[in-house]
């Protein structure tokens, strides 16, 4: 076991890992940050997505040791400072962009990464950006709507009730 340190959600943390310990396992088991989910073993579902040094990554496909010294943001670090839901989180709730909730942390992290570089994405850009995040419940309709809403765009015309 080797001791590593990194910054997670703004706090300095450290823990013991093996070579094979994945960043996802470090977050979940060592730090108890269980909002980062594991939905596959081939790096496709995106439920484990976090930000590493500002970049969206799949934490199940990064070795904890390779991330040592870096800065990680996970779903647990996405609320506003006062604990209220961030704009993205609030949009997902408002537009029913989640059902079982399992893919949701990854969706929120992916959305945050998109809006950082593309503050007003088109529908097609949102769908393309979410290529690495699989949801089985929502059919993506309300996820895409929530992302567009979180970017400040008017979504009232989408899908007449």
């Amino acid at each position: 076991m080797t001791k590593i340190s990194m910054t997670v959600n703004g706090k300095a943390v450290s823990g013991e890992v093996e070579g094979r310990t994945l960043l996802s396992a470090f977050l979940r088991e060592e730090l108890g940050l269980r909002g980062t989910h594991i939905g596959c073993d081939t790096s496709q579902c995106g439920a484990c997505a976090v930000h590493l040094d500002g970049q969206l990554v799949k934490s199940c496909t990064v070795l904890a040791m390779d991330a040592a010294g870096g800065a990680v943001t996970s779903i647990e670090g996405m609320q506003n400072a006062d604990g209220s839901l961030s704009v993205i989180q609030a949009a997902f709730q408002e537009h029913h962009g989640l059902q079982c909730g399992f893919c949701t942390p990854g969706m929120v992290m992916a959305t945050a990464a998109l809006l950082k570089v593309n503050p007003k994405p088109t529908e097609a850009e949102v769908r393309h950006h979410l290529e690495g995040n699989i949801c089985r419940c929502t059919g993506y309709h309300n996820i895409v709507k929530a992302v567009l809403a979180a970017s400040g765009q008017d979504v009232s015309a989408i899908a007449a009730e």
Binding site: D41, S43, K58, L63, G132
Partner: protein, 262 residues
Amino acid sequence: MHNFDFVKPATVADAARALSADGAQALSGGQTLLPTMKARLAQPSVIVSLTGISEIKGVCAVDGGVSVGAATPHAVVAAEVGKYYPALAKLAGGIGDPAVRSRGTLGGSLANNDPAACYPSAVLASAAVVHTNKRKIAADDYFQGMFSTALEEGEIITSVTFAIPEKAAYVKFDQPASRFALTGVFVAKHKGGVRVAVTGASNNGVFRWTEAEAALSASFAASAVESLTVSAEDMISDLHGSAAYRANLVKVLTKRAVTAAH
């Protein structure tokens, strides 16, 4: 996955030394290697991370082309290469998904030489030069069939120099599940002629469609390949498409790439 020792050298020289250990394996972005190790299909005893070596990262203009550091993630290529070589930037921006592009690297892709990877087609069509810690390898010599390259044990790709064509485009048809290339075609119109590189289609890995190159060198228009036929022999046949289907895609995508080239 099996356990291993982990080292993260800061220089290519240190990495080369680390890779001389028994069972040592280089790890770049890890987007293919780590899932393979999770499935216990690879069991390295030492992992040598290349992500801490700044000398093999980044993009810069070189005489007549652009050089991309081997450890440069796809996302950086997509963002920074566009001003030199738009078709290459576009290809990089279409690999995997955003999270994969944050980690996956050019060097990792080339060292693995997955028959459905995107980058090999760009390297081959661009007549790029693969630089390693030991030598320079011409693209035509580098790819040696599915998952097979000219790299020697422990040899590390440091950068790739791409000659910038007059016109070029890459068109990929996704394998619907994995989003790798079911077939992808990179067309590059150089001063000296056209190169057409095809990935995803062949049991022999990335290859040049020489008949199309000749036809397009004579006339760079989609119609120039209309009369050509692509043999289904040696094409991959799997759940997602027969050999005949892939052969069809080679021609369709070549035409589309020619039309899209700029």
